[in-house]
Amino acid sequence: MLKVEEQQPVEFSSTLIEKFDEIVKRYPAGKQKSALLPLLHLVQAEFGWTSVAAMDKVAEYLNIEPIEVYEVASFYSMYFLQPKGKYVLEVCRTGPCCLVGAEKIMDHIESKLGVKEGEVTADGLFSWRGVECLAACGFAPVLQIGPEYTFYENLTEQSVDTLIDNLRNK
């Protein structure tokens, strides 16, 4: 899944490094590896995905082996190991959401955006995917959009249309 050769080198801005420094302070001396998950979130928020080049830089910063970063990034579902659209619509597809129509919502998003799950629209703006339970079952169906993980609840086909149109015109 990790394609090294296609990847451009990345630079971390001083603002980003300052944020890293703040996070590392939370842990006891020598336990800086604890910062790995929060750091990867910051990287993904900055670059839109978690590239091998960026992971190598994180490893260097935390003074750990690159493999320690790769194995974590590939384990957790939130880190994108490939570039995605600017907006990734993540729709909950687990039981309680499906009881009230999540599957129809995913079908609708697929036809509205014209791309399959995991693909990117031609304009580079959108991707979508089904994700497992987002802990909002009482307000189902739901979707979230990173990097802020804004939540959209009680979805209908109309509300999804409005959401996508608003994002497109932003």
Binding site: L36, V72, P96, C98, L99, F139, A140
Partner: protein
């Protein structure tokens, strides 16, 4: 109206701010604990309260605390488990969103009781908005002198940090959570040693659910004995129930333990009945991991007595006719829902979330998903039904952590109670694609039995 201990002020405007939270009596528990009680006295109050872990296992919190090793010169940690990911459960998100200081206050009191000077709240990564809310609340509490050095002049120091997860259900398991907090993959650890002896960074650690920690606040304010008066039997206090599925009013409800299940589903104070005038077919009473029950066994025991929302009552009848309280994720299925499809959906979830460490779970969950998929899509064989039972038995009890059990139980229980619906999918492969089995006899009321119930050797 039942008593509210956690959500009493949830509708007060601005209750998410320190100012309003304090006007409503917030941070009294911190003052009381730090100024008038010793750490051991706080532990004693929690023991007296009978509070049981609200994350799913239901283990007494006070007892868990008393197991914490206290070697000289070694740091101890309190880690709050806010990795809420169990399908059907969303109470912790609710609590953290609307009344974050209840968790912060509980963390301060609990950390004091355990002698922790650094504590972490591990929040699932998808809950970024909640992470921001908690960070803001922590900053407010720190500015008011409830966190940091020498809290309220008592000499007690505490730093509190929020740690985001990366999106993995398995990190709700406490040792996987600790691995994740150490910056690793969320692979559960072999126990023993338990976290109370060797947890975060190898130091003694307590991991508690958000709701358990928030419940410490009313326990300290009113006393453990007062808290224990609420509820029923060994199910003391109140419980947040996340109600979802085909209900008129899904949402988070705080109930006094012991409320009849029927009242919870049908009364207007709670869920208000089944949506769209449909009838109830089945429920999953405690989050997706617990056994599914048909409507009739949800409301009554096999002997016809009413079932209550409590740890003991929900598990009455064992797995033959009962279920579990779990994390309180109450999912209601109406007559139009397909049990096979839902079971497949849950199996897919567990397959996706298995960490892959133990073969029975890694391979078995995949098998469950595949076999259920072919049953649902009209390619099933009669023997598949027993194959599912067989696979689930081979997962259950054979893994390091309870995810294996959690994957096996929903499948085994669905077949136990809805076997005829599974068989119908095999016999009617085409019809089952376009229509559902329906309510069948799953809601036929159970008559009260006067004679003794015959015991099966199950």
């Amino acid at each position: 109206m039942g008593r509210k201990l956690l959500l009493e002020h949830i509708n007060v405007p601005g209750i998410n701010t320190l100012e309003v939270y304090r006007q409503k009596g917030g941070y009294r528990a911190v003052e009381k604990a730090l100024k008038t009680l010793t750490p051991d006295e706080v532990v004693e109050e929690v023991k007296k309260s009978g509070l049981r872990g609200r994350g799913g296992a239901g283990f007494p919190t006070g007892m868990k605390w008393s197991f914490l090793a206290k070697p000289e010169g070694v740091a101890r940690y309190l880690v709050c488990n806010a990795d809420e990911s169990e399908p059907g459960t969303f109470k912790d998100r609710y609590l953290m969103t609307y009344i974050p200081h209840a968790l912060i206050e509980g963390m301060i009191v609990s950390s004091f009781a355990l002698g922790a000077n650094t504590s972490y709240i591990y929040v699932r990564g998808e809950m970024m908005p909640q992470i921001r809310i908690l960070e803001k609340a922590i900053a407010e509490a720190k500015a008011a002198g409830f966190l940091g050095k020498n809290i309220l002049g008592t000499g007690y120091d505490l730093e509190l940090y929020v740690q985001p997860g990366g999106g993995a259900y398995i990190c709700g398991e406490e040792t996987a959570l600790l691995e994740s907090l150490e910056g690793k993959r969320g692979n559960p650890r072999i126990k023993p040693p338990f976290p109370a002896i060797a947890g975060l960074y190898g130091c003694p650690t307590v991991v508690n659910n958000v709701e358990s920690i928030a419940a410490v606040v009313p326990i300290i304010n009113d006393g453990g004995d007062e808290y224990a008066k609420v509820g029923i039997g060994r199910s003391t206090g109140t419980k947040l129930i996340s109600a979802s599925g085909n209900l008129v009013k899904p949402g988070v409800y705080e109930i006094e333990l012991g409320l009849p299940v029927e009242e919870f589903i049908y009364s207007d104070e709670y869920c208000g009945g089944i949506a769209n005038g449909k009838r109830l077919k089945a429920t999953v009473a405690g989050g997706s991991s617990v056994p599914i029950l048909p409507a009739n066994l949800t409301l009554k025991y096999a002997n016809g007595e009413p079932r209550l929302m409590s740890y003991e009552s929900l598990s009455e009848g064992g797995f033959a006719t009962g279920t579990m309280m779990g994390s309180g994720g109450f999912i209601a299925f109406d007559e139009d829902q397909c049990i096979v499809r839902n079971t497949w959906n849950f199996a897919r979830f567990y397959h996706h979330e298995s960490c892959g460490q133990c073969s029975p779970c890694r391979e078995g969950t995949g098998w469950l998903e595949k076999v259920l998929h072919r049953l649902e899509y009209g390619h099933g064989k009669m023997s598949d039904i027993d194959l599912l039972v067989d696979v689930s038995k081979k997962i259950e009890g054979n893994t390091i952590c309870p995810l294996g059990d959690a994957a096996a139980w929903p499948v085994a229980s669905a077949i136990r109670h809805f076997r005829d619906e599974f068989e119908w999918h095999v016999k009617e492969p085409v019809k089952s694609l376009s229509s559902n089995y329906g309510l069948a006899n799953y809601a036929v009321p159970i008559e009260r039995k006067v004679e003794e119930v015959k015991q099966d050797n199950l």
